[in-house]
């Protein structure tokens, strides 16, 4: 009997080990999600908290459930929200492509570097993470401002007379997002390219492929998983970005993160803000599932 118990405990350990992160995710991801979902289906009132509770005791023996879809309808009808969603996706998409164009050659160069140089380069890519994200965005404000470093330098060099308007434009938001998310593109690409066998490139050359042809027929197809992983890792969070469009774009660049914030804070309209969040989540569910699928396939191979 004790042996049976011991065996069960052994297999039980596996369950316990999985249970701990599962409970963590349940508490800090699933539960908050349901809370936001609940608020998004509630009626907005001037109260604290500023929404009607889901369940209300009508009398001693009856409970009424208050669910309204007004908030979602409101988002759908007001063109502001639709425009903002589309604008967010546009900016995020373009930023992803820019990250890819800049990050791909960088990742490739790192892979081909000597071992010492490789470590230095990787450190340079990761180092910014060790400083505060907010500070780095503020630094960009200082660089891009009309009276900022870049403009001052250009005027001092005599290249321009009037400062170029950079801060509080869409351009600044692109700079901010690409700068911040570039490591998220470079690292998955690097991980994928590291596994690329040099012999394959030599084999291609041996069979008659010139360097460009080798790149198009061998390197590129084999780095597609890295490209997709990096792109999703940039696109998904960038769509919901708040700090960068707020600080670098000012009021001029409409991104959904900012809209959510102003609904929540300025309007104290928690239900609408929650609805905005829920819609954003569902928009990104498809790319997120795609990412998960690719990662699991990569880890299998």
């Amino acid at each position: 009997m004790w042996r049976r118990l011991g065996e069960q405990l052994q297999s039980g350990w596996k369950v316990i080990v999985v249970l701990i992160p599962f409970i963590w995710l349940l508490l800090f991801f699933l539960a908050p999600f349901f809370m936001v979902l609940k608020i998004s289906l509630a009626e907005s009132v001037i109260a604290s908290p500023p929404f009607k509770p889901l369940l209300q005791w009508v009398s001693d023996s009856a409970v009424s459930i208050n669910i309204v879809f007004d908030n979602f309808l409101f988002i759908w009808e007001d063109s502001l929200y639709l425009d903002t969603y589309l604008n967010s996706i546009k900016i995020s998409l373009i930023s992803t492509i820019l990250c890819l164009i800049i990050g791909y050659p960088i990742a490739y160069a790192i892979v081909r570097a000597t071992p010492t140089a490789k470590n230095v380069f990787l450190l340079m890519v990761i180092l910014p993470f060790w400083t505060s994200f907010l500070l780095r965005v503020y630094a960009w404000m200082g660089l891009l401002a009309d009276q900022g470093t870049i403009n001052n330098l250009l005027i001092w060099l005599g290249i321009i007379d009037e400062p170029i308007r950079m801060l509080y434009t869409e351009f600044a938001v692109y700079v901010g997002i690409v700068y911040t998310y570039l490591p998220f593109m470079i690292l998955p690409l690097y991980a994928n390219m590291e596994k690329l066998d040099i012999n394959l490139l030599e084999a291609a050359a041996d069979l008659g492929a010139k360097p460009m042809m080798t790149f198009l027929t061998v390197t590129l197809p084999l780095t597609v998983p890295g490209i997709i992983a990096g792109s999703l890792l940039v696109f998904i969070p960038a769509t919901g970005e708040y700090v960068i469009p707020d600080l670098l774009g000012g009021g001029n660049v409409l991104m959904i993160g900012r809209v959510l914030y102003s609904e929540f804070n300025a309007n104290t309209d928690w239900p609408v803000a929650s609805a905005v969040a829920i819609v954003l989540l569902f928009l990104l569910v498809l790319p997120m599932m795609l990412y998960q699928h690719i990662q699991s396939r990569e880890s299998e191979s």
Binding site: N199, L200, A204, D206, L207, G208
Partner: protein, 383 residues
């Protein structure tokens, strides 16, 4: 010219003075910084040869192969293939193909597409590509696997795809980097014969790099033994095995029992060698006149020693006496380690010609045995 002598050179073109070498390597040196990988080597390889570059790790054989393929540029020297200077020609413009040790099959392409890759780069019409690919695949017996991807194939099948891919363009020269290294023994033997028959059928010149001397001996028409960037000896497998020119070669190929000694006497046919520790001088057949007193080595292959538990009566043999120290059983033969009178151990190989029920060897452990060898069986080496 005497045309009657032509057939004699048919499978030994390097002996024919009228033959032009197909591949000419002249003064090739390759250095990586201060390290010299290939040291000013010259080599002529003839059309249709299966030539082996044999040596241990770091001897420069792979570097030389890569220079023939075009993946490395020589620091100095010239490489010509079929009369054309190829020294500075990039790999994608050479009529040379290579079979990599790791096969380097494109993982994202099917077997068919892998084999067709080279033909597509040449811009051939689709129909022709399809024909040549299917011909090649049936030659390597992989027609049924044409739609599979490399990860769905076994090691031996992948090797055949690599072979098909490298031969489908009918290259003038095929380079093989350790082609049999990754295969198990049975597959290795099978592939050896397949390679040889393919080569004969297609008439392609092969250059094989290997560290496995058995592989080199079975496969090739000629072998170049390499050490530290230069050729120690070039010759046919028989020449290398039975007529090594240095102690290095004698020891590298197969095993050899080495005796160091000094020349006592020589008459142009047989040399008498004084070996310290043995009263009787060794008699070794050697055509050249070596100065008396010169330091020499006598190399005797284990299979050339006659092993007898009783004194040997045959005349004209060198006789050694010893005690059986150890016996290694290999099934078809046994290797006896004999401790001689000067305490050194030599090896004697004996085929197991009898099939006794209680598996007695010719001699047992700790037995006293007599060894005999003919003067012609010993190799006299001066370096």
């Amino acid at each position: 010219m005497d045309t009657g002598s032509k057939p004699d050179f048919e499978d030994r073109p390097w002996l024919d003075p009228d033959q032009q070498p197909f591949i000419r390597i002249q003064g090739i040196t390759k250095s990586f910084g201060p390290f010299v990988a290939v040291d000013n080597v010259d080599l002529d390889i003839y059309k249709g040869e299966l030539f082996a570059l044999l040596g241990g790790s770091g001897c420069g054989k792979t570097t030389l192969l890569r220079m023939m393929a075009g993946f490395e540029t020589p620091t100095s020297g010239k490489i010509s293939i079929d009369g054309m200077d190829m020294t500075d020609v990039p790999p994608y413009e050479r009529p040379v193909n290579m079979m990599f040790q790791s096969y380097a099959l494109f993982p994202h392409m099917t077997v068919e597409k892998n084999v067709a890759y080279g033909l597509k780069r040449d811009g051939l019409p689709k129909a022709e590509i399809a024909d040549r690919v299917s011909d090649m695949l049936s030659m390597v017996e992989l027609s049924a696997f044409s739609k599979r991807k490399p990860h769905q194939l076994s090691g031996g099948q992948r090797q055949r795809v690599a072979l098909a891919r490298s031969l489908v363009k009918n290259p003038k020269l095929l380079l093989l980097d350790e082609p049999l290294a990754a295969l198990d023994k049975r597959l290795r033997e099978q592939t050896q014969y397949e390679l040889m028959s393919l080569q004969e059928k297609l008439g392609v010149t092969f250059v094989v790099v290997t560290h496995d001397q058995e592989e080199a001996m079975t496969l090739s028409t000629r072998i170049a033994v390499m050490d530290q960037g230069y050729f120690v000896q070039i010759g046919t497998p028989t020449e290398i095995y039975e007529y090594p020119e240095t102690c290095f070669v004698a020891d590298f190929i197969g095993s050899a029992n080495m005796f160091e000694g000094r020349v006592r006497e020589t008459d142009g046919k047989v040399c008498l060698i004084d070996v310290p520790g043995f009263e009787q001088p060794f008699q070794v057949e050697h055509p050249a006149n070596i100065p008396v007193g010169a330091k020499v080595w006598v190399a005797i292959r284990p299979e050339k020693l006659l092993l007898s538990p009783t004194p040997i009566t045959e005349t004209g043999l060198n006789i050694l006496k010893g005690i059986v120290d150890d016996i290694g059983y290999y099934g078809n033969s046994s290797t006896y380690r004999i401790r001689l009178q000067d305490d050194r151990i030599i090896q004697v190989t004996h085929p197991n010609q009898r099939r006794p029920r209680d598996a007695r060897h010719v001699a047992d452990w700790e037995d006293m045995v007599y060894l005999g060898w003919e003067p012609a069986s010993g190799v006299l080496l001066t370096k």
